[in-house]
């Protein structure tokens, strides 16, 4: 299986471990990821707060590159990119006026042929049987809180994936790896990432709420599917602990890192050493490190 791959800005720096582990897992499952030629930023929340046309044009620019190269499926692992790409496809399909304007801006007329997926969608499509076949080390004993973040399932008109308020896709994959997943109510709460540089106080509060709930339900690891969630929950965890005079100490792993470990990867191969909050205790307890 061959997919166009849009890593996005985060996966080349702060989310490099996501990139590493995604590459490892897709390779193991026989999925070929081909990076889009000359890709540019999707615009994230800054483009849609500035100009609607720009917020559609940036994803379309990348989608056209994929379309020109003959791809009809694209993987975007970062939720900010994913939702911008999906929104661009939906709006280009339904808004004739917008489509006209976008075609005016580009020399190449994007035909809307490239379908956009999150890695979770692709893995579900592949099926649990194939995932189970690859497992070398079951994650038995690991208690995982799957955190989906804000825009993986929202709004349903755009995301068209999983249950919008109580998603299960990541849980089912993590369960297939042999781990236990928790039922909890903050799966799709926002970590506040668009404010991370400007109103960090809000991010600390929202992320603290999430971490507190994770502790409460007794999970020892959080699994995430977005580099921005990871940067907040992991990168800011020490600040959160200092601000709220508490101790969380919960490692925040990408779900692809968990998959990689279960597939028998060395921790370094899937970027475990890059985590800020040490996963040594949690992973050591089940003999993974």
């Amino acid at each position: 299986m061959r997919y166009a791959y849009f890593p996005g800005c985060s996966l080349s720096s702060s989310g490099y471990d996501y990139h590493l582990s995604l590459k490892y897992v897709t390779k193991a499952l026989g999925i070929d990821l081909v990076e889009i030629k000359d890709w540019v930023c999707c615009g994230a929340s800054s483009a849609h707060a500035t100009s609607h046309l720009l917020s559609i044009a940036l994803p379309v620019l990348n989608l056209s590159h994929a379309e020109k190269d003959g791809f009809d499926q694209l993987i975007a692992p970062c939720l900010a990119c994913l939702s911008r790409f999906k929104a661009a496809n939906v709006e280009m399909e339904h808004d004739a006026d917008l489509r006209k304007k976008i075609h005016e801006v580009f020399d190449y007329k994007y035909q809307g042929k490239v379908k956009v997926y999150h890695p979770l969608e692709v893995f579900l499509e592949i099926g649990f049987e194939k995932i189970r076949e690859r497992i070398r080390k079951k994650l038995k004993g690991l208690k995982v809180a799957c955190y989906y973040g804000c825009v993986l399932t929202r709004p349903p008109k755009i995301a068209q994936f999983d249950n919008v308020e109580d998603p299960q896709s990541m849980d089912s994959i993590v369960q297939a790896l042999g781990a236990e997943t928790m039922d909890w109510s903050f799966k799709t709460e926002c970590c506040g990432v668009s404010m991370t540089l400007t109103r960090s106080d809000m991010v600390l509060k929202l992320s603290n709420d999430i971490l507190r709930e994770v502790k409460e339900v007794g999970a020892n690891v959080i699994a995430v599917a977005c580099p921005l969630c990871q940067a907040n929950l992991d990168g800011r965890q020490r600040q959160i602990e200092e601000t709220y005079k508490t101790r969380h100490g919960i490692p925040v792993l990408y779900f692809t890192q968990l998959m990689g470990l279960a597939f028998g990867a060395y921790p370094k191969e899937v970027g475990i050493q890059k985590l800020i909050t040490s996963p040594l205790e949690a992973l050591g307890s089940i003999g993974l490190m």
Binding site: S46, L53, A57, F106, V151, V193, Q239
Partner: protein, 187 residues
């Protein structure tokens, strides 16, 4: 108690927004679902349902001075839950887009500044330069050392790159951006 003399003038804001975004704010009947699900409502002077009412009444000065449109996290919860199907985030984006036309006081100037810096960096490099973005917005907020405790372990682990990546697509991107500006200016 505030009293409002309602005239045709008051309808201007909601009509302008409908032209720009296609969303009809008049459909809102104040069920407050948006506010109850909003993760940042606690930090807003004007809550999302109050914002909807203020748009219906055309109170643009009150809206912009509250700064609510900049505190919104764009998490899409309100859109998902609105029983009237109003795309509230699109409305807020519309208000952000036309905010430049008004010269009202903005309690959170750092937020639009961040968006401007973000877009400027993307225009220059084609990609986000995370460290540069953080440094520039910190300078803008006059807190140059903010988050240094977070950045240093990230730098040590190679999670933050010192230098920007430059995309080969940056030139094409600049061309597209110039055409968009022309198209939007021609409106």
């Amino acid at each position: 108690m505030m009293s409002i003399v309602f005239s045709k003038e008051n309808l201007k804001l909601s009509r302008d927004l409908q032209t720009l975004t296609g969303e009809n704010v008049m459909l809102c009947y104040q069920c407050k679902k948006c506010t109850l699900g909003c993760p940042s409502a606690y930090a807003m002077g004007m809550k999302p349902h109050e914002l909807m009412r203020a748009i219906q009444l055309g109170l643009d000065e009150k809206i912009y001075c509250s700064g609510t449109i900049w505190i919104c996290l764009s998490c899409e919860t309100c859109n998902t839950r609105c029983p009237q199907g109003i795309n509230i985030l699109r409305v807020i984006d519309g208000l952000r887009e036309i905010s430049k036309k008004f010269e009202y006081y903005n309690p959170y100037p750092a937020l639009p500044a961040l968006h401007r810096i973000f877009i400027a960096l993307v225009k220059r490099f084609g990609k986000v330069y995370e460290l540069g973005l953080a440094l520039l917005i910190n300078l803008r907020m006059l807190t140059p050392l903010k988050d240094i405790d977070m950045a240093s372990p990230m730098l040590m682990k190679g999670k933050l790159k010192l230098l920007p990546h430059i995309s080969h697509g940056a030139k094409e991107l600049r061309q597209v951006m110039a055409r968009i500006r022309k198209l939007e200016g021609a409106k």
